[in-house]
């Protein structure tokens, strides 16, 4: 900013001659991806502490309630695994998909995106930072649901560490989807509606045992990214999990995550420039 000098400050009501624009002024540096992502992540996390903790309780109790209900219907075996893993991943769907879709829908409708759009921040940093923060909120709820479910249905907990991969990967896929829905929905109410629908789909298609679903619905189940997180977690409950299949499921989650986060970043760009 050496080009801007004190003598240019008019104290006489602005009658100073205009400074010539011979040299374009140097541009201030933009924010780089990782530091900006970190800043957004941290800010979103602190927002959540204020505003989202009650919703986390709701998400967790909803899942636990479903498991208690299903206990009367399901009697162990693969169905019990499906119910516990479906309920655990449902917490991720509730927060990452539903709440994030609502957040971005509200931000876009209220003009809040302008704040980010007038800062030199890479779009991916805003989307990934928010998605990562929302996925992080789900960790305690998912863990708690999985532990309670395992106890409820007498499933082994030795392989629950697989949640370390399931939560971030399913979180990425669902948060990307949620962010894209929120940013693309033409109206805020539609964003909310789509988020709710996505979560309902995750609930029905994830919690209900797959082999009881009609064929058409089971195709829909295959399309839902959370399904692969559910499957990976369900497989890990068996005494000798087939780690290859678990890895394949998680690979699908990761691939969908990359695609959906890229779509969300594109949607963000589209929403900020008019």
């Amino acid at each position: 900013m050496t080009a801007v000098s004190l003598e240019a400050v008019p104290s006489d009501g602005g009658r100073t001659a205009p400074a010539p624009d011979a040299e374009p002024a140097p541009l201030a540096p933009g924010a780089r991806l990782l530091p900006a992502l970190g800043a957004v992540y941290r800010a979103q996390l602190s927002r959540a502490r204020v505003a989202r903790i009650p919703l986390l309780f709701v998400a967790t109790f909803q899942s636990i309630g479903i498991m208690v209900l299903m206990r009367g219907v399901v009697d162990g075996g693969s169905e019990a695994r499906a119910v516990v893993s479906g309920s655990s991943v449902l917490v991720v769907a509730f927060v990452a998909l539903n709440l994030l879709a609502q957040y971005f829908g509200q931000l876009r409708a209220s003009g809040g995106l302008d704040h980010y759009a007038t800062l030199p921040v890479p779009p991916a940093a805003v989307v990934l930072g928010a998605a990562a923060a929302y996925a992080s909120f789900t960790v305690p709820g998912t863990l708690f649901t999985a532990v309670v479910g395992s106890a409820l249905f007498q499933l082994p907990m030795v392989h629950l560490w697989v949640l370390v991969a399931v939560v971030p990967l399913a979180g990425a896929a669902l948060a990307g989807l949620g962010a894209a829905l929120g940013l693309l929905a033409p109206r805020q109410e539609l964003a909310t509606l789509l988020g709710q629908l996505g979560m309902s789909a995750a609930l029905l298609l994830g919690v209900l045992p797959a082999d009881r679903l009609p064929t058409l619905v089971s195709y829909a189940r295959d399309l839902l990214p959370s399904t692969y997180g559910v499957e990976a977690l369900a497989r890990s409950f068996s005494a000798h999990p087939d780690w290859l299949l678990v890895g394949a499921d998680l690979g699908v989650c990761a691939a969908v995550g990359v695609v959906s986060l890229a779509a969300a970043t594109w949607a963000y760009r589209r929403a900020t420039v008019r």
Binding site: A19, A25, G112, V273
Partner: protein, 326 residues
């Protein structure tokens, strides 16, 4: 340094939806030419809907103009709107992106997203919060603050991370006098120390008269005048503003009052008019001396304000309050 030429932006017509009537297309910027000089405190003045916010959104890269050019510090912002973020600190009207953050985190995060490293962002955050008298509120979330305090916190976020130009959309709305003074002091300091250029949107005439170097008056997407506040007021300097307030109905049977009625813009029992000084003297003599005095509740004589300039230029703001929203 900031040159706008032939700027046109039209919002498309909206179809009627349930509960929302159809709206015709609006030409919110209708061939705007402006030059803001380096280091200037330049104001955009106009009633609601005059196109002030649309104009600044095009200057900050948020809105693509349909036609025209915007050059800022040698950069073409129509071709490279993304450069605006690296040249301009912007305070918009909305705070929803920051509402759930604490004042300190809002300022720090904004600084980080302006490309500062953590240590610099924190140092600047502390300096700005002290400067604006927000240090005590640093730990409170924005949405728990009053409107004026929240506005001040958003301004703090806009000031972290130095920029050669600040675009502030109604920065002092809802603020008490102490906060206002802090805002103007902070802006003056940046202009004196760094030669920062400031573009300000306002519809507060009194503020515009006292702080601005130059002001452009906007009306329906057009610049209808652009000069120093004193220069603009010189347009109506040979006139005096007279306001009369009647107790009940104006005594139109008095001939002098009936004659005044032709010049007056009446709002309820209040009449406002601009008159030549000798006419004003005669009018005051007539209403304070004769039978009209019994019907008179109050009167004022004043030199014209920017409000009068706006009206003299043919401003069409709804309601006689026009620009002022103190």
């Amino acid at each position: 340094m900031c040159t706008v030429r032939g700027l046109v932006k039209t919002y498309p017509a909206a179809r009627a939806r349930r509960g929302v009537p159809a709206a015709p297309a609006v030409r919110a910027s209708d061939g705007i030419d402006l030059t803001v000089r380096r280091g200037e405190l330049f104001g955009l003045l106009g009633p609601n809907g005059a196109g002030k916010t649309t104009l600044v959104r095009q200057l900050t890269g948020l809105l693509r103009p349909d036609q025209g050019s915007v050059r800022l510090l040698g950069h073409d912002l129509v071709r490279h709107p993304e450069r605006a973020a690296r040249l301009v600190g912007y305070l918009g009207q909305e705070s929803t992106a920051l509402d759930e953050l604490t004042v300190a985190l809002a300022a720090e995060t904004t600084g980080r997203l302006r490309g500062l490293d953590t240590r610099t962002a924190r140092a600047e955050r502390d300096a700005v919060l002290d400067e604006l008298g927000l240090a005590e509120l640093a730990g409170r979330p924005l949405k728990k603050l009053s409107g004026g305090q929240r506005r001040l916190a958003c301004l703090a976020a806009a000031l972290v991370g130095e920029r050669p130009m600040l675009v502030l959309d109604e920065p002092t709305t809802g603020m008490d006098p102490v906060a206002r003074r802090a805002v103007w002091a902070a802006i003056d300091r940046r202009r004196a120390e760094r030669g920062t250029t400031v573009l300000l949107v306002t519809h507060n005439v009194i503020e515009a008269e006292t702080v601005l170097d130059r002001v452009a008056v906007l009306e329906r997407g057009k610049v209808i005048a652009c000069d120093t506040p004193a220069g603009l007021k010189a347009l109506v300097a040979d006139e005096v503003r007279v306001e009369l307030v009647w107790r009940t109905d104006p005594p139109l049977d008095v001939p002098e009052v009936a004659a005044l009625h032709e010049h007056a813009r009446a709002q309820g029992r209040r009449w406002r008019m601009r008159l030549a000084p000798e006419q004003a003297r005669a009018a005051i003599a007539a209403v304070t001396g004769g039978p009209a005095f019994a019907a008179l509740d109050d009167f004022t004589l004043a030199t014209p304000s920017l409000e009068d300039v706006y009206l003299a230029l043919g401003g069409h703001a709804e309601g006689t309050e026009g620009l002022v929203k103190a």
